[in-house]
Amino acid sequence: MNTPQLAAGIGILAFRQLSGIAAFHKIVIRFYLGVVDITMTEPILDIRDIRVRYAGLPVIHGLSLTVGQGETVCVVGSNGAGKSTLLRAIMATQRTFEGEILFKGKAIHGLKTEDIVRLGIIYVPEEKMLFGPLSVEENLMLGAYVVQDKQRIQQNLDFVYSLFPRLEERRRQAASTLSGGEQQMVAIGRGLMSNPEMLMLDEPSLGLAPILVDEVLDTVGRLKKEGMTILLVEQNVREALVLADRGYVIQTGKIVAQGSGKELLDSDLFRSAFLGI
């Protein structure tokens, strides 16, 4: 146990509390017992010991994870480790058999997908799942389905176009005719159209050329700067962990390591599992 770090953390927390400065969602005080991490703020997403099965087979066994307000949390792991299943379980497209999923303190594991979306969680799947025959703008507008205020929708559209100017140029073009990188921009933009409180991105760089991977991860970085809460599942482990505030390493449906991006990159477990060092 790193006592000085713990003491410093508790000191900062006490100071913040006493001085009445409450806006510190992202202040996370960590102490490390190997790979153990403690989030001191109230998490916006709190997953507690969930178990999920896929096609009858257990895929996630007692997984716990938290995401704080405004944090970018990255989940990494090998293929078949259960990363996408975890995101699907949060969205209730995959049934959770045991455990709890709390969003802003409210249990969401029994809700329907559309109700979870209304609470403010948006999922951008790895397959992008654009509506091919529809235009770029029509795809984006579908993302604003839960927003009723037309002015707000227009503001969101302007924000998406400011984030991805190329989409504005191609707003009337059918989504199926776009390049892979542009389709990913539409998928992320569509997610942003509903004013999400938390964005879940499932392998946004999958199948993209290296230059486009950088572009997509830059976008994630810009969203992070805007204060968006992001739960990111990504195969480009090194880049994703550099970008993230915190990371979790998942193996065969269990969390085996967690910590800040830098700490994970430096940890022996991570280096041997992912980098072969």
């Binding site: 497209t93 559309e114 799947p125 799942m129 509506f131 993302g143 389905y145």
Partner: protein, 335 residues
């Protein structure tokens, strides 16, 4: 006001399409003024009726991708409501038709809720089953004439009776159904770009993704199923006054359900013009082949064979129907 504006907005179609549609609309408006046979007029009325049936089916089947093979039950509800109210209580068409629509929609909500728990082929089979069960119930229900059906006797009314839709000349029926046809086109044109229309198209493409956008997939399907029901119920009511003799087998049979779905599929499901093109091809083909070949000695039934071959050919060439072929050719020329 915005909905009305959207219904009249055809700006996303190429000018050529709008010009052709305009010429066809003028032709339909002036057709009865030219010399024509009773057979041609009857065929045109059938074409308009099946176009409207197809437009209704197209909302749930084409835009929503839910293959509904039980639409005839709603034709029956519309037809029987109008016939029963007219025969027993002399209630005019313009009152009984909306009532028939309400009853059909209420029935569609009742069965739609469990039906849309099913997907794909299971859904299609369940729609057939519900329609056949209703047909069997009507076949033994004495109040609605059981298997004999109901007959509207025109001699009780003074021609032309616009309230009860009882006419001697088919030209009146023609213009009434033409009115429904134009209203149907405008409605579907507005629908395809409406909030519900976009929901449906996203559900057709990917249900899981649609629900991940916050769309209540089940409810969107039920609502659209009710809209489709309203279309066929209106024509069902018209059918009762036009044919004047309705039987469970004719108004609720499987043949009719399949024919309605075929119109839209053949013309191009999920496109505005598809059901009209489908009806324009199938109805004259069916009528004329039956009249020319069906009656000839030794050729009885050959009309059905030709009819089936044409359907198979188009399905094999382009699953998106005739409109799909048109779009394919157009894309190639542009490239």
């Amino acid at each position: 006001m915005e909905t009305l504006k959207s219904a009249f907005d055809f700006s996303d179609f190429p000018r050529l399409d709008i010009s052709i549609a305009g010429i066809i609309a003028i032709f339909l408006l002036v057709f009865p003024l030219f010399s024509h046979s009773a057979f041609a007029m009857a065929t045109m009325i059938q074409f308009l009726m099946f176009s409207v049936y197809g437009m209704g089916w197209n909302t749930i089947g084409g835009y929503g991708g839910q293959v509904d093979l039980g639409k005839a039950q709603y034709v029956g509800i519309g037809a029987y409501t109008t016939a029963v109210l007219l025969i027993r209580w002399n209630i005019p068409f313009w009152f009984s038709m909306p009532l028939g629509v309400c009853l059909a929609m209420a029935w569609s909500f009742i069965i739609g809720y469990p039906l849309f728990r099913l997907k794909g082929h299971y859904f299609a089979i369940a729609t057939i089953a519900t329609s056949l069960v209703l047909m069997d119930l009507f076949s033994v229900w004495e109040f609605v004439g059981a298997a004999r059906g109901l007959e509207i006797s025109p001699i009780k009314y003074h021609y032309p009776d616009f309230w009860r839709l009882i006419f001697k000349k088919d030209i009146y029926y023609y213009y009434v159904i033409l009115g429904f046809f134009f209203v149907g086109i405008l409605y579907v044109n507005g629908f395809r770009r409406s909030r519900l229309g976009f929901q449906l198209r996203s559900i057709r493409d990917n249900e899981e993704m649609a629900s991940s956008l916050g769309i209540n997939v089940h409810w969107a399907k039920i609502k659209t199923y009710a809209i489709a029901t309203a279309f066929v119920s209106v024509v069902g009511s018209f059918h009762a006054c036009y044919i004047k003799n309705i039987e469970p087998q004719d108004t609720m049979g499987l043949d009719l359900s399949i024919l309605i779905a075929l119109m839209a599929m053949l013309g191009g499901a999920g496109s505005l013009w598809g059901p009209i093109i489908g009806a324009a091809v199938l109805i004259p083909l069916k009528s004329y082949l039956k009249a020319w070949l069906g009656g000839a000695a030794g050729l009885a039934g050959i009309d059905l064979v030709i009819y089936a071959v044409i359907i198979m050919l188009i399905s094999a060439l382009e699953p998106r129907g005739i409109w799909g072929i048109v779009e394919k050719v157009r894309r190639r020329r542009w490239q």
